[in-house]
């Protein structure tokens, strides 16, 4: 019976280990597959910690299994074991060894704490971004470039990105697992800084990591790393004038019903996500993935996604401040089409 218990305990653990080691997650999302120096430094510390902890676990498990099997009471055994009060030598060993292990972990921890808190907000080489979290979207302002965008943080590859994070409402947390870890976006004066860089081009997934309301889990964003020339084209394109819809009826509806809150180019209001270049973003609303080859229910063409989002925002993101705007079917189609074609041509 007890031998069986031993295997019963071990078998699912082993099965899980196999399963788990085969899946370290997506390279654009997992902390286990870091894509930049900051996440690599954090992963290095994680690996060190995991190794030390595995040693501890192996020792404890080994002793546990040994005593469980070796010192079982045989049936009818009435003997009284020796009543040991303690053992100074042993007790010193298991006090000192953990202290040594903790020093091995503690020294690089402290180094890394200071290294990762470096302030790049005055660094002339760094690209400064002010991140403002809103229920449930992200605003990215590049103060030195005078531009503002939403949901998609476009960065030049290899450059240090200096983040200043704050919130316009409740506490959020700005997390890019594959690049940088996270920092809270606090309301009020408690602004936070963070930095990271992405040496490789690509799109990385970002998430909100602090419960902020019903759509907290849907408050995704993207970090898009492009080469420097593309980045320059992007910043220029973002500041270029934007043509409004050519159909006068659609234009009228767009100006009166959308631009009261949103902005395109130099027109419209600043309070809600800037729509300039929305047609070339990876997603609509952070979670409806734009693709011509939809596989999952949250994927579709840019047009379909925009249509779905504008038609009923609450169905996509419960609790979003975007209202269900009264639009005729023609206006809905026209605005979706216009926005899906509102692209920025900056990638080569």
């Amino acid at each position: 019976m007890n031998r069986w218990q031993f295997f019963r305990k071990l078998a699912p653990l082993l099965a899980l280990m196999v399963l788990v080691l085969s899946a370290c997650g997506r390279s654009d999302l997992s902390t286990l597959r870091p894509q930049g120096p900051v996440a690599e430094e954090q992963f290095g510390l994680m690996k060190l910690a995991i190794s030390i902890m595995l040693i501890v676990i192996v020792v404890v498990f080994a002793i546990s299994f040994y005593v469980i099997i070796r010192f079982r009471r045989r049936p009818g055994d009435k003997t009284i074991p020796k009543q040991v009060e303690g053992n100074h030598k042993l007790e010193i060993i298991w006090t000192v060894i953990p202290i040594i292990l903790l020093i091995i972990l503690g020294v690089p921890t402290i180094q890394s704490v200071f290294n990762l808190s470096k302030d790049h907000t005055k660094d002339p080489e760094a690209v400064k971004v002010v991140v403002t979290a809103h229920q449930y979207w992200w605003e990215f302002e590049y103060p030195e470039l005078g531009i503002k965008t939403a949901q998609e943080l476009v960065i030049p590859k290899g450059k240090t990105i200096s983040i200043e994070a704050k919130s316009a409402d409740v506490v959020h947390s700005f997390w890019i697992p594959s690049l940088a870890g996270k920092v809270d976006a606090n309301p009020g004066a408690n602004e936070n800084i963070m930095y990271f860089s992405a040496p490789k081009e690509g799109v990385y997934l970002g998430k909100c990591a602090e419960l902020c309301g019903p759509s907290h889990g849907l408050m995704d964003f993207k970090v898009k790393s492009v080469d420097e020339a593309s980045f320059d084209r992007w910043t220029a394109a973002l500041q270029a004038p934007v043509a409004l819809p050519s159909d006068p009826a659609i234009k009228e509806a767009f100006v009166s019903k959308c631009l009261t809150c949103h902005a395109v180019g130099d027109q419209g209001g600043p309070a809600f996500p800037n729509l300039t270049g929305i047609g070339s973003r990876e997603t609509v609303g952070g979670i409806l993935v734009n693709t011509d080859d939809p596989e999952y229910s949250n994927e579709g063409s840019t047009y379909d996604n925009l249509h779905r989002w504008i038609e009923d925002p609450q169905a996509v993101k419960p609790g979003t401040l975007m209202p269900q705007v009264e639009l005729t079917p023609q206006e809905l189609d026209g605005i979706s089409k216009y926005l899906s074609e509102l692209t920025l041509d900056y990638e080569q």
Partner: protein, 627 residues
Amino acid sequence: MAHGHAVKRYSGLMDWLTTVDHKKIGILYLIAGGFFFLVGGLEALLIRIQLWKPLNDFVSADTYNELLTMHGTTMIFLAAMPVIFALMNAIVPLQIGARDVAYPFVNAIGFWTFFFGAVLLNVSWFTGSVPDGGWTAYAPFSGTTFNGDHGFDYYVLGLQIAGIGTLVGGINFLVTIINMRAPGMTFMRMPMFTWSVFITSALILFAFPALTVGLAALMFDRVFDANFFDPSGGGNAVLWEHIFWIFGHPEVYILILPAFGVISEVVSTFSRKRLFGYSSMVFATILIGFLGFMVWAHHMFTTGLGPVANGLFSIATMLIAVPTGIKIFNWLFTLWGGSITFTAANLFAVGFIPTFVMGGVTGVMLAAAPADFQYHDSYFVVAHFHYVIVGGLVLGLFAGLHYWWPKMFGRMLNEGLAKLTFWTFFIGFHLTFFVQHFLGLMGMPRRIWTYLDGLGFNEMNLISTIGALLMGLGTIFFLLNVVITAFKPKNAANDPWEDGRTLEWTIPSPAPEYNFKQTPLVRGYDAYWKEKMDGHTEMTPAEPIGSIHMPSPSILPLFMAIGLFITGLGLMYSHGEWGKIAGIEAGFVVGGIGLIITFACMIIRSLIDDHGFHIEPEELQDKGVKA
């Protein structure tokens, strides 16, 4: 008869409503805590059903946030704490050779305020405005600007009232353990469970006032339009995080230390060996309690406290691993060389040790602040704290309940069914939470209503849900066992495990009303075991048989708690919801009436002397608590 005055004795329901007997109060705590454990467990199952597949819409996003908030709050405050208090009440006075706690009346107040606070919090489900910002209630999301309904009013007032119960309970046990030990029971002869309860009570004394202050401030924000935490009115949101975690971190040690105590007792009894390194165990427990107050900011590494604070709190947190490690190895070496029998209680205890270590090592990993920038608020944290709270505390509580069940109820739980409980719960637990470490590392944030498809989260979430169902099954087996056992004859022996080492096993199961006919004389650590080894069958009495002074039952504690309940409810609805009475908000009027009830009870208690009654020697028979 030589009674001072008429003996007030009730039977049936009135007996339970008026009791000041620590054993009955323990049972009340167990029933209430067990009930809320089921409620919280049901909430957990709904959460896991929602997450079993991507983009599921089994519950709405709003409901999901309510479920996760109430699951956390219920499990910590309304399930774990009362079941701990159940064991404290049922066992500690017996272990120190006392006839009751120091303040039996206050003990009853403690239970009833906890109970009505808990009920008030759960009334929210029926009024439709349920707290939905997590058990941590981070401001300003928990304030009126972003949470205009009454959800967090229930949280603030419910927990405030329940917190009174915990605080007075903690004080009561401090006084009891300091003052009411039997002759010869020095501090360094106290059983380990009593020691852990002693330290836990000290932590309660220092930690709960922080919660009280925090909740009061949030109450002012919500009910009286103050501005402690809302930055839009000049408050500071981070302030709440500090206040909450200055309470919140010691709270996790308040939870786990009694489990450590239970494990020490169970492992020692069922390996027929003295606890290895008793004095270092005591020292380690004190050290953990002390360090527990120095580490709260490790919950706030991403809040932006700066590198100096993050570095200091990282190191302080890591230090806790040292005394905890001492405890782990002391348990293992208690088993080493022992004669171990695997009763269900011991299965839980032995299962606890490696499981708790797994939760402990992830705790040290989380302590490294830079790495925590990745772990923080991800499923890795969810896995970690469930390993220490479920894999640690709940396994410990199950061990304790199976171990002391005969002492509390006079009946042995069915061993076969109890072992089935262990295996389903234990395997289900690891299935549920082991994979969650990896979900977190792979980028899944915690507290999310749903997740997108194609992120690689699907399989592990499914496994986790299956595990949760298995844990539910384990709980059902336990309930079944309790019900079946209740119909069995009450025939447990004084020392049903035959290897009992401490004083509670020297008296009948269940213990008579007065616990000890004669206060025992304690001649060493493991007092009963020492007598057994010296060839005695019972303790040497420290006093001749005489009349025993008992406290009178009283209905006042119940009414005091009801008064507070009414006050809480009234305060919440003081913004015009109930109209006005004579120009004053009806809510405030109702709240005032509640306070009058409570104060009236306090005045009655203060002005009318009640000297209790005596049980005379000729009445002393070994009759136990009815349950």
